[in-house]
């Protein structure tokens, strides 16, 4: 008997230890993930504005140049054709890429192991006053008639205030995160605006109005919705919802922010409904009966007693639904059109942060600016979610004080 008791207490101690260790491990894991995310993200600012391992070279006669990434894009897209427009000399711009060198000179002239490549690039830049060369640093043109354009590090202000997201543009990729932030916020808030009234309505119906048998059927069906893979929702949105939105609002294209929010609202519903319903059903029987005994109607009881009582549960439901909406990836990737522009209406196509990360991380060369920019986007998303949960925590604390 005594033996049995000590055995039991040993087991209990053991289980206690296992629990505390797993708690510790989880916190360490979370800290580790945050560390990894921010370490990769902050590495972004160590990169220079033009592609790693490359340099930009102009003829020495061409002075007073101070080119931003935006200018470089305009030059290489052929939208600026004369150096005069950029405070340079009066010469038309001639772009030379490393591949062009191979089409100008024969392979023998360049040499089997590119021994003469550097001298050929020097020759090209030195002889053409209006030229701009984009070459690997190993084969950079040398001599007194060549100037290397200075490069800057990528800056936080350019990242946060930039309005263009063109991560694969050469020679200077543009990492402007503003359209992505706006896109994410627009789609998520719109989704919450649609999902919250609908979800609360269903929750009230289920907890207060539905009969036991109705609830028995409805609740599992709604919870089943949460188990459908998000890519299925995405395809449903693309094939059914987006033509529908296009027809109803007479739009040129159905892949809009509104379509994305509708899909996200459907996806957030099960979470909102089941959490809010649980909170409402936890209202003590004595409170309901007291309200009814005072002569309040069923409906008055619901909105004067039950909803205020379960406020913090309802707020939790909204926050959880919002978390789902902000972080959702695949479904949004399929239906929002993924255009990196700052949206002016809910009928514009938008690109969200999670969709951008999912679409681009697979093929971004690891360790380079684009890859790290995607991690930095992860940090931005992390910060947004953190702000939302802190704010909601404050709100629910306030509402607790009243009771």
């Amino acid at each position: 008997m005594i033996k049995n008791k000590t055995f039991k207490s040993i087991i209990e101690k053991l289980i206690e230890k296992v629990f505390s260790i797993s708690g510790l491990l989880t916190s360490i894991l979370i800290v580790f993930i945050c560390y990894f995310l921010f370490k990769e993200g902050i590495g972004f600012f160590k990169n220079s504005t033009i592609e790693n391992g490359y340099g930009l070279y102009v003829n020495s006669k061409n002075k007073n140049l101070n080119l931003s990434s935006q200018d470089l894009k305009q030059i290489f897209d052929g939208n600026i054709s004369n150096w005069k427009e950029l405070n340079g000399i009066n010469k038309s711009i001639e772009i030379i890429r490393i591949d062009d060198v191979f089409s100008i000179y024969s392979e023998e002239e360049i040499g089997e192991n590119y021994e003469n490549l550097s001298s050929k690039t020097s020759e090209l830049i030195a002889n053409k006053e209006g030229s701009i060369g984009f070459f690997p640093i190993e084969y950079e043109p040398k001599g007194s008639r060549v100037t290397k354009l200075p490069t800057n590090h990528l800056k936080l202000s350019d990242f946060l205030r930039g309005k263009e997201w063109l991560p694969t543009a050469t020679p200077a990729p543009l990492f402007g995160v503003l359209p992505l932030i706006y896109g994410t916020l627009l789609v998520s808030f719109l989704a919450i605006l649609i999902a919250v009234p609908l979800g609360l309505g269903v929750a009230i119906y289920l907890s207060e109005l539905a009969s036991a048998s109705q609830r028995k059927i409805m609740k599992p069906i709604i919870e089943l919705l949460a188990g459908i893979p998000s890519v299925v929702y995405g395809f449903f949105g693309l094939v059914v919802l987006s033509p529908f939105v296009q027809k109803i609002f007479n739009l040129p294209i159905g892949e809009t922010a509104l379509t994305g929010s509708l899909i996200l609202a459907i996806m957030a519903l099960p979470t909102i409904i089941s959490v809010a319903e649980d909170a409402m059903r936890n209202t003590p029987r004595s409170m309901r009966e007291a309200s009814l005994a005072l002569g309040a109607t069923h409906w008055q009881t619901i909105y004067k007693v039950i909803i205020p009582y379960s406020k913090s549960g309802i707020i939790t439901a909204i926050v959880l639904g919002m978390g789902r909406a902000i972080g959702e990836t695949m479904a949004v990737l399929m239906v929002t059109g993924n255009a990196a522009i700052i949206p002016h209406s809910i009928f514009d196509s938008v690109r969200t942060i999670p969709a951008t990360i999912a679409a681009e991380l697979g093929e971004a060369p690891s360790g380079e600016a684009h890859y790290q920019a995607l991690f930095l986007l992860g940090c931005v998303l992390f910060t947004i979610t953190m702000i939302i949960s802190i704010v909601s925590e404050l709100i629910s604390k306030k509402s607790y004080k009243k009771y």
Partner: protein, 271 residues
């Protein structure tokens, strides 16, 4: 327990002894390589060919790291990648195993049938915004692109847009299926897809690369004799040091039988 261990070790040993070659890279070439590998293994019992996707860039990175024997790509090896291989004191060999054509597609309800290269460039760089500017109805043009990381995105940019950037804010979709679906239900849309994916729900345009002197339709015949201009080679890359290992398989792919498979998969054979 011991028995199980012995059996696993034995199995592991057997798989390691078999002459396994690994192919990795472009998802465009993936279905072709898989079919070729199946046919090759049927003919040569005891030889094993393992094919995985991941993208052209991933394939060449694996070749540099030495974790694959052949890199399959839908674009030519980049200068910087060739450089990395040379830095390791190795040389790389290139084989063209077939061709893929890109069709420019629009909605079936759109009256336009042909466009020039310059018009396409204008549309995808955002300078041409309405179909009436290229002779169509008064309707907004909605260009759709593939995601920035795909080889198709890069190829179209190089071949049709002369390395100019897509306008920022172009809509992009993650898969060819999604592109076709979206074009079929959007009146003003224009996009590009691999010719193997074409179907009746969208219309493929005739394209002119000589300022409108002649327009060429992406038919099977025109792509086979390479009259159609938006066409790209599909490559295998391998290191010269592993030539003896991969030679048999590559010879098979280039043989009459292998090239027949290229056609059945929907690509264009080299002969």
């Amino acid at each position: 327990m011991k028995k199980v261990l012995i059996v696993t070790w034995a199995l592991l040993g057997v798989t390691l002894c078999v002459n396994a070659q690994k192919i990795k890279g472009s998802d465009t070439v993936l279905p072709l390589s898989e079919k070729e590998a199946q046919a090759f293994m049927k003919n040569n019992k005891g030889n094993k060919v393992m094919v995985t996707g991941g993208g052209s860039g991933v394939g060449i990175a694996a070749l540099i790291e030495g974790t694959t024997d052949i890199a399959q790509t839908s674009r030519k090896i980049k200068f910087s990648e060739r450089q990395k291989i040379q830095n390791k004191g190795k040389t790389v060999k290139e084989v063209i195993i077939g061709y893929d054509a890109l069709a420019v597609i629009i909605n079936n309800g759109n009256g336009i049938n042909q466009l020039t290269k310059e018009q396409l460039e204008g549309i995808f760089t955002g300078k041409i915004k309405n179909w009436k500017e290229v002779g169509g109805a008064d309707l907004k043009i909605i260009p759709l692109a593939r995601e920035t990381s795909s080889g198709t995105y890069e190829f179209f940019k190089e071949k049709v847009m002369e390395n100019k950037n897509y306008f920022s804010g172009i809509r992009s979709l993650p898969a060819t299926g999604a592109i076709i679906q979206s074009v079929s239900q959007t009146k003003g849309a224009i996009a590009y897809v691999g010719i193997a994916y074409l179907n009746n729900s969208v219309k493929a345009l005739s394209i002119s690369f000589n300022n409108g002197k002649s327009y060429i339709k992406p038919t099977e015949e025109n792509t086979k004799n390479k009259l159609y201009p938006i066409i790209r080679p599909l490559y295998y890359y391998y290191l010269t040091s592993s030539e003896s290992k991969v030679k048999n398989f590559i010879n098979f792919v280039l043989s009459f039988e292998g090239q027949k498979i290229v056609q059945t998969v929907g690509y264009i054979s080299t002969k």
